[in-house]
Each structure stands twice: as structure tokens, then as C-alpha cells.
């Protein structure tokens, strides 16, 4: 009798794995790669201005004073247009926002800002994604909370929607 039952074990195992595979296929895949740099100091960098209208960005610009938002974006990135009003709202709340423009041209940066508003105090140009890779960012847009000591405290992946504004304000408060 026990032997008979044992014969069903492989079939049972197969059904279990087939069921597991079918279930996992219906689940959303988490596409985000989180930065492992949260809690780490920003690496050293110095970027040229992304266009003539604003100064460039270096690590030293992110040290001292209040916590800031570091926005990784690009003029060719569509979700960056969607988050522009939220960046304006954060700026209106007194938040300093600095930007890094990924693989971008000065004329495109200027045109984007003229059209969608300019919430930035500085924008550095990262034409080969060097600083982006150095801080563990894997796409645009991403927004990092940097505290006054230049330590990365929080990472927001994807565009900032209206519901994320209070969240970022809270993280900025926590980083004080």
C-alpha cells in the first residue's frame, strides 16, 4: 500500500512545480533594481553644466546646509515630463533640487526646461552615465534624498506622482 502511494509522489511534485510556475507567471515582475548605496556617502564627482543657464554639479555642492533632492533625469525621458509639476511643487515647499541630465544635449535641456519649468538650482551633464552608475541608479527618472553630510538617504525610482510628494517631504525631514 505504501509503495503504491509512493508512486504518486513524482506526479505530485510535478503538479506542485507546474502550479508554482503557472502562479508565478500571473504575478507582476518587480523590474526595479534598487541602489545598494543607500546610507553610503555620495562618491566624488564634478560634472560640467548641462546647459548655459545653470551651473554644473559637483559633490561639494551637495554638502552642508539642508538635505536636498538629487533628480536623475533627461530631456528625452517621457516620465520626466510627467513628474515636472511635482518637482515644482517640492520647490515651492522650499526644497532645493539639483539635477543630473543623463546622455543629454545642452539645447535639448534648455528646450525641456523652457517648456516644462525649471525647478533646479544646478544641473550637471552626465553624457556617459558615469555618476548615474556610481550611485547605483538604473534609469530615469530617479530621485535621491541627500543629507547635509552628502550621504544618500533615500531613493525614489520612477516618476514622482502627486502622492509621492508628502513621502519625499517626510524623507527630507528624516534626513535632517
Amino acid at each position: 500500500m505504501a509503495r503504491r502511494l509512493a508512486l504518486w509522489v513524482p506526479l505530485g511534485l510535478f503538479a506542485f512545480f507546474a502550479g508554482l510556475a503557472a502562479y508565478m507567471l500571473t504575478q507582476d515582475k518587480d523590474q526595479f533594481v534598487e541602489s545598494a548605496m543607500i546610507g553610503q556617502p555620495l562618491p566624488d564627482f564634478a560634472l560640467q553644466p548641462a546647459f548655459a543657464g545653470l551651473p554644473g554639479l559637483a559633490r561639494a555642492d551637495l554638502v552642508g546646509g539642508k538635505p536636498r533632492l538629487l533628480n536623475i533625469w533627461a530631456s528625452w525621458c517621457l516620465p520626466c515630463i510627467a513628474e515636472a509639476p511635482q518637482l515644482e511643487a517640492l520647490k515651492a515647499r522650499g526644497v532645493e533640487i539639483v539635477g543630473i541630465a543623463i546622455r543629454d544635449r545642452p539645447e535639448d535641456v534648455a528646450a525641456f526646461l523652457a517648456r516644462h519649468g525649471n525647478p533646479y538650482s544646478r544641473i550637471g551633464a552626465d553624457p556617459i552615465s558615469e555618476v548615474q552608475l556610481a550611485i547605483g541608479s538604473s534609469g530615469v527618472p530617479e530621485t535621491f534624498v541627500i543629507d547635509a553630510k552628502g550621504v544618500i538617504r533615500y531613493q525614489h525610482i520612477g516618476d514622482i506622482r502627486p502622492e509621492h510628494v508628502p513621502l519625499l517631504l517626510k524623507e527630507l525631514e528624516k534626513a535632517k
Binding site: Q31, V33, E34, S35, A36, M37, A74, W76, C77, L78, I102, R103, D104, R105, D108, P127, I128, S129, E130, Q132, L133, A134, I135, G136, S138, G139
Partner: protein, 143 residues
Amino acid sequence: MIRALLVLLAALIALPALAQDTMPPAPYAYTQLEDPALEARAAALMHTLRCLKCQSQSIADSDAPMAGDMRHQVRSRILAGESPEEIRAWLIARYGDYVSYEPRVSTTTWPLFVIPALVILIAAGVLLRRLGRRRGGAGGEEA
């Protein structure tokens, strides 16, 4: 009808163009290192690093601009004298184990290494017992 189709076609062409940048690739994105030995080391490493934009491809396989920028990092660091494992560690420090296709033994991955060894041991045990029984032959039990 044809007009509508043309508009649709145009939209299909326009969308990818909008979602990509127009910048030239990084210097070492598509250019091999002069020294074949260094290029071989870089290439071997690039085949075991995950593209972050197209996560089922290695950076050696991907044409995503970001994969090109990662290849530039790998090649220029190799050229500067870093070892492939140092570069892998640099990337893992930024993106976690996920960026590497070469699995490490860690607190979460050890069962992957231990379970196959256990299964082989169990299979070997069962096989030995069966063969032993058959060779003993006294019971004469087949299959």
C-alpha cells in the same frame, strides 16, 4: 484607411525615437581595447554582468545606451589596471548581487549550492543500496 495606417506606422516609428537619447555612444561602448589580452578580460567580464535596462541580457549582448555606458566603465577600468573581480565588486556595491550573473555563496544563496550536493548524496546512497541488494542476489528481487 491607408492614411490612418500611415499615421499609425509613423507613430510606431516616432515612439522609440522619443524614448531614446540621441547622444553618441561612450568611447569604449562599441570600441574594443587595443590590447587583445585586455579586451579578452573585459569581454569575459561583460558577458557575466547584467544589463539593468534589459534585465535578461548581459551588457555584452545589449544595445541599450546604458549597457554601452557600462561597457565603457568596464573597458576603461580594465585599461586603468583594475582586475575584473574588482570591477564586479564595484558594481555589486552599487546594484547588489543582481547585477552579476556569477552567483556568490551568501546567506540567501547557500541552499542553491547545498541542495544539489545533498540530492547527489541521496541518489548515490539509493543506488548503492539497490546495486548491493541485486549483487547479494539472495532475495532475487528485480526492479
